[in-house]
Symmetry: C2
Subunit: 338 residues, 2 copies
């Protein structure tokens, strides 16, 4: 199994990306990791770590896509960027999966352009797993597609349901539609039309889901357009941070609360771990013809290590083949809409 890692993508690149790749290479010796980026800078980082596992190789790519570069511009103009070169390795069959903590928009655009979408898929979508008391709830799309049509949302339901089944072993995943009320008539045109598509599908559709219900056990998969999903993802991050910082600050107010917080440390450690993106490593871009794991821009070595392991797992479960066959099942339905 060969994983292309975008060594120049992310706030802590190349340092943490190289470190995480080395950790993963040591942990999974039968995986081959290809670090894509500026050769000298990657070599420099490897020298600092003082170990280069045999299953790590380098592919030179001198250009970097900055976080301010527009996505389409970057893939057109920077053809020697680490993102584009990584995607090309997948497209040429020289790698089986890809991990990037770089510019999300550019990664989505490069993957869509060079890998193309899976047979039958209209638009790729990013699937995030939000931690709940009952495990996780997969929300799709988290920002790949901000001009969603009902068919896109419907296909997100099929794709995420397939991933839930084959990656998380959920027998018949419950699929919900994010809406601002439970009643069928609620919401804007997009969600009302999607409701009808999902109702008539072979999926285990449980109807509209209000955003507060993401944390209940009502659905394993919740579909929404990429703007809303991205807002949810970042809101969850901001709110978790805000709550934890407030608890920490307020606990400093007296000796007893300080002592109480000391005793409660194990609780907060486990809660933080549950909510920490580094634990998940990255999230899959579903619908492109290849395994792509997108990481948080602030990814550290641990996040990259876990992302590489997630990429390996997705590759092994042959999730894309399952997605294509699931989409074929709903051919009649989608043919009517298309």
């Amino acid at each position: 199994m060969r994983i292309a890692v975008d060594a120049m993508g992310g706030d802590k690149a190349p340092q943490e990306i190289v470190k995480g790749s080395v950790l993963a290479a040591q942990q999974v010796p039968d995986a081959e990791i290809i670090l894509v980026g500026d050769e000298n800078r990657i070599k420099h980082e490897l020298n600092l770590i003082r170990t280069t596992p045999k299953n790590i190789t380098i592919r030179h790519a001198p250009q970097i896509v900055g976080m301010d570069d527009p996505a389409t511009h970057s893939i057109r103009k920077k053809i020697n960027s680490s993102i584009t070169r990584s995607v090309e390795l997948l497209a040429k069959g020289e790698a089986d999966a890809l991990v990037s903590a770089g510019h999300t928009g550019a990664t989505v655009a490069a993957a869509t352009l060079h890998l193309r979408t899976l047979k039958g898929v209209r638009r790729p979508g990013i699937a995030i797993s939000l931690p709940t008391r009952y495990g996780t709830c997969m929300v799709i799309d988290a920002g790949a597609n901000i001009s969603c049509k009902p068919l896109h949302l419907y296909q997100y339901g099929v794709m995420a349901s397939t991933v839930s089944k084959h990656l998380f072993n959920i027998e018949n995943p419950k699929v919900g539609l994010l809406n601002i009320g439970e009643e069928e008539a609620k919401g804007n045109e997009l969600v009302r039309e999607t409701f009808s598509l999902l109702s008539n599908s072979h999926l285990n559709f449980v109807g509209n889901i209000e955003s507060r219900e993401i944390f209940d056990d009502k659905a394993n998969v919740v579909v929404c357009d990429g703007f809303v999903g991205n807002v949810i993802l970042k809101f969850a991050e901001g709110m978790a941070k805000s709550i934890f910082v407030t608890i920490k600050t307020e606990s400093m107010s007296s000796f007893w609360t300080k002592f109480g917080m000391f005793l409660c440390k194990p609780i907060f450690r486990s809660l933080k771990a549950k909510m920490d993106f580094a634990e998940y490593g990255g999230v899959p871009l579903l619908g492109v013809n290849g395994i792509c794991i997108i990481c948080h821009g602030r990814s550290d070595a641990k996040a990259i290590q876990n992302a590489i392991k997630a990429a390996l797992k997705l590759s092994k479960t042959k999730v894309n083949e399952h997605i294509v066959s699931e989409l074929e099942k709903s051919n009649t339905l989608t043919a009517e809409v298309a």
Copy 2:
């Protein structure tokens, strides 16, 4: 000051609504509270409390708008509902403000129909105040308008900025636009066009705000369309509940964590109070020609009591007059768009 309270609206109506109204009436003796709803049921509740303050009166309205009733249907067919009758009291000048924990859609529809919008306002919007480490951040719209146009969002900015200034005494409120990236070119057509309107306005516009930044001190007001705002509101509620339940459950795992949690009780009490909607009571529906406070469906007596106090405060600050004059300032700009 006369407040019409929809006694039949909400999951705990009429019991908690009547209780909360009595508490408010006792606390603010110079306010007159008009309980609107089924006279016999209201009298029954008042008898149970065994006290009817002199500043409480009853207006009979036999019909109830159910949570499953479509908003437009309910205001057309149920003309004797407690919501419609409450709004009518405002429209006729027999009340100065209105409080309802009933069907939000029906309240918005009834208020828009009977009170009309303020001079210059295209669509009313619900302004919620999310608690942050720095105070609160006002997000508008939280669900009154799910077919937003750039001009609506722009006007939400003007209205919420005015409320921040006159109710929260913020000198020059920072207004942000909710988007999925900080760069001007980010987001869908709606936000890109709104960005241009806000940039050219007299508001203290601070640009795009990512949802995680709602919790920072970047903006006092964040505008977004009603679908996204409603998703945020309910997501925050679900996530807060999920975190607190998880902390409570995990603290039960050992004697020491249980003891630690006992010591930390003051922290969680203050944090919960900050995040508890009952503390705020209700949120204003801005842009209609009258003071309307919309409460959570699960409102208890304390929430209703606080909502009545919020209504009194908004009435006293003459916020609607200020909104009209602020909108007039931007006449040239909006005339170009309209």
